[in-house]
């Protein structure tokens, strides 16, 4: 498989796409598939039109991301992975426009259950009535094979909660797209790095992504507000340094963290589901600790696969925030250890297996790695 990644940060959508096309033409006579990670700064309703106009192909998927990864660079523009199979490799796509549909989870599970020997990259939106994290939990119950080690992905990111996927001339807001690779060897791993601190809290009242009460009916919003004390010009993102660390879910590949999204009077909203009865601690990490985990993860992936044609990195936007000016080091570690092309993006939540590969999980503040090569 020949894969290369390209990027353009030109401010005009058409120019950026043409810039990428020129780079591709210098490296490829033909290709089988294109994956576009696109900044939400470009007009989303023009994206499908211009991709088809510039590249003259239907064989692509695109998705929003605030920033993307191209090898060891962070790109605020458009990044493209170009895939050309050299042996038996194949790509197909499966998408649903609305996860609120009654049979959305069943349809998706049927697709995954009938393609167990392939690797699936799932990229979703935030959801509408049903949140994507909740959908993943439902889907997980319907997957009928084991090990579930072939499904990974993330939620595309955007400004003010607006994020789309682009496939088959469609703009998907409340659904997802799966890119399925056949005849490939692959391995995955997940990096965390946060450590739990203090005494355990018990979730007393929660609904979806919202946490209302803990312990003896203590308002979690008040508690969260106490973390914001003496912080001038408070920004919710400051709380991304201290995600909650759910401790009774031992099946996680790594601990399940939940990132703060919004603080209201009566509740705190997170970037993933919270369940009544769950126990959690507060947590914290430095950039150093996160990067150490990245290194460990990259080494494990290399040990498992040896060489790879491409590495995908789905890294939480909150994790990137905590990495501050050392964001680039994450991809530098991955590319140098794995010695491969890298394509990835900033996510609003990550999808990966649990530790025993029995089900799918929805993570926050992780970096999820997929290394792949054609059989």
């Amino acid at each position: 498989m020949k894969i290369k990644v390209f990027q353009s940060q030109k401010e005009v959508l058409l120019y950026a796409l043409e810039d990428i096309k020129n780079q591709i033409d210098k490296n490829f006579n033909s290709y089988d598939f294109l994956m576009f990670a696109i900044s939400p700064k470009y007009p989303y309703h023009d994206i499908n039109y211009y991709i088809k106009k510039v590249f003259n192909t239907e064989k692509y998927i695109g998705f929003h991301t605030i920033d993307s990864f191209v090898n060891d660079e962070i790109v605020n523009g458009i990044s493209t992975a170009v895939i050309k199979f050299e042996r038996k490799g194949k790509i197909e796509t499966f998408y649903l426009e609305d996860i609120d549909e009654d049979d959305a989870a069943v349809k998706t599970a049927n697709y995954l259950n009938s393609n167990q020997d392939k690797v699936h990259i799932i990229i979703g939106g935030l959801g509408n009535r049903k949140k994507f994290g909740t959908f993943i939990e439902e889907l997980s119950q319907l997957i009928n094979y084991q090990p579930v080690n072939n499904i990974i992905g993330g939620l595309s990111s955007g400004y003010k909660g607006v994020t789309f996927q682009f496939v088959d001339s469609k703009i998907i807001k409340s659904g997802f797209v799966i890119t399925t690779f056949s005849n490939v060897d692959f391995t995955i791993d997940i990096a965390l790095g946060f450590k739990p601190y203090g005494i355990t809290y018990k979730v007393k009242k929660a609904e979806g992504y919202k946490l209302y009460l803990v312990d003896d009916n203590r308002n979690f919003s008040y508690l969260t507000q106490s973390f914001m004390k003496s912080l001038d010009n408070f920004d919710t993102r400051y709380l991304w340094y201290i995600p909650i660390y759910i401790i009774d879910d031992e099946e996680g590949y790594v601990a399940t963290l939940r990132t703060f999204k919004n603080i209201e009077k009566d509740y705190v909203e997170f970037f993933g589901p919270i369940k009544e009865g769950q126990h959690f601690k507060l947590s914290f990490a430095t950039a150093e600790e996160l990067l150490k985990e990245n290194l460990k993860t990259a080494e494990k992936v290399r040990e498992n696969i040896g060489y790879s044609d491409i590495v995908f990195d789905f890294s939480c936007i909150a994790r990137q925030y905590v990495l501050e000016d050392r964001q680039k080091e994450e991809v530098e570690i991955y590319t140098s250890i794995l010695n491969s092309y890298l394509f990835g993006f900033f996510t609003f939540g990550e999808i990966g297996p649990d530790k025993k590969f029995r089900k799918l999980k929805f993570y926050n503040e992780t970096s999820l790695l997929l290394a792949m090569r054609e059989k």
Partner: protein, 200 residues
């Protein structure tokens, strides 16, 4: 970058962790206290239970064996005419009266005397002193009789004394305790018979 923010966040987090830890310790202490009280107190009257009385007596006897010229008066109290209250007015009324009797006992003995509910309407008071507390016991009896005149309630009692009533104070503690209780019980029974005889 954002070093000040992180320091403040960590300070706030530490404050919350400390608060939560303090609260956790407080809850644990309360739980221990409640567990202890549940283990040593009688649910109905709030007096010590039989189990605690025996445990306390064991320690006390060990102590008194080493102290000369000091006595323990074990007062065995058994209510008179309590059964008819239960039969006529029901158990709820009976329970209410037991609670009130317990209150009178608590208020009229010294704070450091150990008062226990030994059985249904039986109580034991451990009275450490040099002088026999007969006068005090009679006063308590008068108060109970006054309070429950309507029910004709009173009590009979018997007192055993350590070391006076024990021939060999070096016998096993458990045996010694049983002997003290038996003597007091027997004396209470004799008094009860005598009082009934007088009344009849």
């Amino acid at each position: 970058m954002r070093e000040e923010i992180k320091i403040k966040l960590l300070q706030n987090l530490l404050e919350e962790v400390t608060k939560k830890y303090d609260y956790f310790l407080y809850l644990k202490e309360e739980k221990l206290k409640n567990t202890y009280l549940m283990a040593v107190k009688d649910d109905l009257t709030g007096l010590y239970n039989r189990h605690y009385l025996e445990e306390y007596l064991t320690t006390l006897i060990e102590k008194l064996r080493r102290v000369k010229n000091y006595k323990l008066f074990l007062i065995f109290i058994d209510l008179d005419n309590f059964k008819p209250i239960n039969d006529i007015y029901g158990h709820s009324k009976g329970d209410d009266i037991l609670k009130k009797v317990a209150k009178i006992l608590t208020e009229n003995f010294r704070k450091y005397d150990i008062i226990a509910r030994y059985g249904g309407d039986e109580f034991i008071v451990l009275f450490e002193a040099n002088k026999n507390p007969i006068e005090k016991i009679n006063n308590v009896r008068n108060k109970i009789e006054e309070n429950f005149k309507k029910f004709n309630l009173s009590f009979s009692y018997g007192v055993s004394i350590f070391p006076d009533d024990i021939q060999d104070i070096n016998i096993q503690t458990q045996e010694l305790i049983e002997t003290l209780i038996e003597i007091a019980d027997k004396r209470m029974y004799e008094e009860k018979k005598k009082r009934k005889g007088i009344k009849n």
